[in-house]
Amino acid sequence: MRRLSLRTLGPTLLGILAFLGVLAAIAGRMPLVLLTLVINLLIFAALAYSINFITGLTGYVSFGHVLFMAVGGYGLAYGVGTLHWHPVAGVALGALVSLALALGIGAVTLRFRGVYFAIASQVTALAGFYIVLEIQELGGGQGIVLNVGFEPIAWFYTIWVILAIEVGITYWITHGRLGYGIRSIRADEDAAKTVGVHAAALKLVLFAISGLFAGAAGGVYYWQGSGIFPNEAFSLTFSLIMLAMIVIGGMGTLLGPLFGAVAVYLSSQYFLTVLIGFEFVIIGVLVVVIALFLPEGIVGTLRKYVPELRGLIE
């Protein structure tokens, strides 16, 4: 592994780090409305990076990723509601439970290819929903209401740390030797295996990481919502938004998930006041168009067709 020094870090990573750095510096002085917007943007960006680990990098489409986000939320709810921990500890609990679950599920489902994996992930999320409905300690059908206050600064720094770590790991994976192995899985898994790539182990590690961070982001999301209700928490809409973000941004790229999060989340805020109700229609159309005509996403397509940018964005 190359030694990482500031000089060798790509401009994209530096750009993202600078962006995050500026946000952290002005967080305390930002107008409240802007701060809450940024917090939600960071949550969605964290979700986008989490699904990027598995779907973006390996091409295994996870339709059921909402499961990890919900599990993270339930971890938070259980930690704060039943164990009376500090919410940050609850977020950590949610993230760890998600990680364990991802390891368990991934060990089985990652053996299935392409379409079969996608369906299996959707099925596990659906089964997870039905099972949680019957668990009384997690509130059953009723859900859990939490005794937490409005703490935007705490939310901001928690999700900031989560996102910063994710970006760092994404960079490290895509630039290290691991990155070669992973890209080869996406291109042709069987061929990759023949040249000694430990595909199964790599996929599992990536899936576990994606579960960890989806759970962490979910924990912060439900901390903000001060409660979790199963019928909403397991909604397929979250999975769809996560996929939309990386499809639009660019799967497997470093900038793609952030770009996708900005595109999807900020535009959705616009739709709260104008063209009410059409947000998902437009996102859906955008996903269809990009999937068919710009399958590398915006960032990927820019890199492909604008050679000058290749050194700059990744």
Partner: protein
Amino acid sequence: MADFVALFLTDLVLGLLLGCVLAVIAHGLNIIWGVAKVVNVAHGEFIMLGAYGAYFLYLYGGFNPLLSVPIDAAIGLVVGMGFYFGFLYRELRGKESMGLQSELVTLVSTFGLSLVIVNIAQSIWEHPVGILWSPGAAQVGPVPVPFGGLYVAVVSVALIALTDLFLTRTYLGNAIRAYTQDIPATQLMGINPTVVAAVGIGMGFSVTMAGGALLTVWLPTGIDPTKIGILYAPISFVIVVLGGPGKMWGSLVGGLTIGLIINVGQLFLGGSIALATAVAVLTLIPILLFRPEGILR
């Protein structure tokens, strides 16, 4: 004990009927998957469109929902061919099989499509889709057999048999089967793969929308249309995998299995529909692990 036996028999019968409904709903997906090797993530939304079709035909034309089935099927044929030319043509034209990249593209683009359809439907139509045509039930011993369910079961099996006959006994049907096995060989036999693929996929959508119409008979009290996709799409996928993608009667086998697990499973899981459904959909995992080609040989 007598109570339990009565309940068990009731659940058995209702499970079989439910299984037939699920089978026909999954059958369309089976055909599309078998022909084009495409998994239509928006499958649930096309079922919903079929249900709406029957609903509006009932509302404005007074059509008995069973009569809407052939009409919906005809509409589905057209929709399916449109779907092929709109979405798949670019990806499949000239290719010998679906590459991984194409698979990804169709998965993602069809999921985008599902978002579009569901949300347009949600903004235009707010109410649950239901046609309260209740032909009553016959009491066979301890089991109340709903006539609506019976009709649906009969039509479902008939539809599956029809498609099977078409694929094995007609020239076009055989051409479609040839296409699913080996595209270059099909071309060598002088068959235009585009026509064959279009018809095959059209047939798949036709059955899907007919299934949607049948669903309104099965659920006379209506179902929230936005929930149809969430529930029936994953179940359809599981059924097709259970039976074996591309095997026509596999839809029935898969459907009956799932229907029985859901209905009879409730009895053994303390009356919990939630757990029975979870178990039913999770059967996907062992099947993929131990018998990925499906139950049918």
